[in-house]
Symmetry: C2
Subunit: 352 residues, 2 copies
Amino acid sequence: MTARLQETVSAIGPLDEAAMARARARQDELTKPRGSLGRLEEIAVQVAGVTGCDRPCLRRKAVIVMAGDHGVVAEGVSAYPSEVTPQMVLNFLRGGAAINVLARHVGARVVVVDVGVASDIPPQPGLIVKKVAYGTANLRREPAMSREQAVEAIEAGIEVLEQELERGLDIVATGDMGIGNTTPSAAIAAAVTGLPPARVTGRGTGVDDRGLALKIQVIEDALSRHCPDPRDGLDVLAKVGGLEIGGIAGVILAAAAHRVPVVVDGFISAAGAAIAAVLAPQARQYMICGHKSVEVGHRALLSFLQLEPLMDLDLRLGEGTGACLGLSLVEAACKILDEMATFSSAGVSRQA
Amino acid sequence: MTARLQETVSAIGPLDEAAMARARARQDELTKPRGSLGRLEEIAVQVAGVTGCDRPCLRRKAVIVMAGDHGVVAEGVSAYPSEVTPQMVLNFLRGGAAINVLARHVGARVVVVDVGVASDIPPQPGLIVKKVAYGTANLRREPAMSREQAVEAIEAGIEVLEQELERGLDIVATGDMGIGNTTPSAAIAAAVTGLPPARVTGRGTGVDDRGLALKIQVIEDALSRHCPDPRDGLDVLAKVGGLEIGGIAGVILAAAAHRVPVVVDGFISAAGAAIAAVLAPQARQYMICGHKSVEVGHRALLSFLQLEPLMDLDLRLGEGTGACLGLSLVEAACKILDEMATFSSAGVSRQA
């Protein structure tokens, strides 16, 4: 590990139990039966622990979308061609993608990062270029990237998060764009959980039965060829991961280090979260799972991360779409804690 | 049935299939894999069918909170005293309750209606008084209300919805306030589904095991004494219902008649929705279920209504809190349909 990554990992401490206790005590003073707002109450208490503030206010919100390409697309594992990755990056920058619509809806800014798109995207306002490589290598044949590139990808995520912190950031959501990236995500899921690839591999953007069988075979080949060490997050990321997945891991680690709550999107983001959790187990406590994806491997990763999704809307788009909707729920949960009247201030009788 | 109620029920037609087909066709042109936004895509198509517009815009939002008291509280079925109903109504009017916080969060107005609070609430700005009675009678001993009062309660809801339409309304959410109202809701659930009361009765705001057993006994007594006819919505509402539950049924019927999508909150609202669905089976298609409540009877009512909840956040507060969060998801779903770029406009390649 380099100094920067090591420093970030070391900065991740436990949640602030005192702030959580104060938040819990306040929840019980608010004009509602105890615990009657369920997950919203829990989430606000978690955010209190993350931020160290017992009435956290989440005004400045961003979704960071990490983009990268995948050499494994050459094996025919995706229903879309790689050229769609830069096309969608341009769509993000013009505001026409699903993530733009949802981010506007919840009042979050969209931050688009090229960590490893296979072509050069013409420089333009809003595009952050942190290109580690022109896509990964084909993980069926060789490691997806070198260990150094894995570190660079994670550090790209750390740098972007820290840049956004300077602009003002109270909560962040992760997102991804990368044609082919359900394959490395499933490979990561299999590597960290020990489950067979067939149990964690889904249809991605929509491959047919033959495509799915091929995808499983590709992942089996990669795992038996490279033998990634499940206790070594950099090894897993380098051998069977993706550059945008590394970037997401970096965003999560830096968010945890700076005590910013992070809403993790679906399957690809959970793969990044798993890498972060292997590198820094305490980072887990800073994560909130936005939604449960249709992708079968997401469940395995959530159980590995011990996260309960906030929503289950049958999404399988990525980009941070589910996390973005999650941002709004987390903000709502914190407003409840901050803005509601108490039994005494409102003159409402308590439970008999 | 009176002329007004009959007129409303008769005005409820089928969804606009042509608008739904146009909305579905547009979904498949947007820059995302087909179907990858799951429930959000389905919901937007449903709203197209409800409104007859293939790119519906849901700007003007309201949550209508119906308040009423329950004579059955004399049996000891609630953890809170009846005086909390008017106290909470005042809390709503001052903006300090959970529903106010969430409505501000999603940009909806809160409309507070006294359909049957047991005391007189001093007149004040924002309070709509449509008081049918000073609470219901104790349904264990006598019918909760007369058939005429059941009609009046429903018509109160119809009137309020039509008044809000005049102010401008694109989507509405239902909410309730009424100490003791999980008891009539469970009685309605048992009556319309035929399930035994023990299967549909929960702890409400938090009764203990003894309180729960008592609640079940009270409902069993009421059902065997009054024998409500499950095919007659007015009979069920009059014998074992509540005034605010009737008001909610009226809001739903009027929303369906005026082709306004209606987000139904948790258990109490679902009881109102069940009354509406018995009176006008087509009304069901205009409903969206905001969330799944902790209350056990909610599941039975959702299956009766054939509705799938959008969220499951372990809420059990009522007031319209879950529906309010649902409003925002429905709005987001319609923005996706309206605002996203198409493959051709964004220059993105289609599936191979």
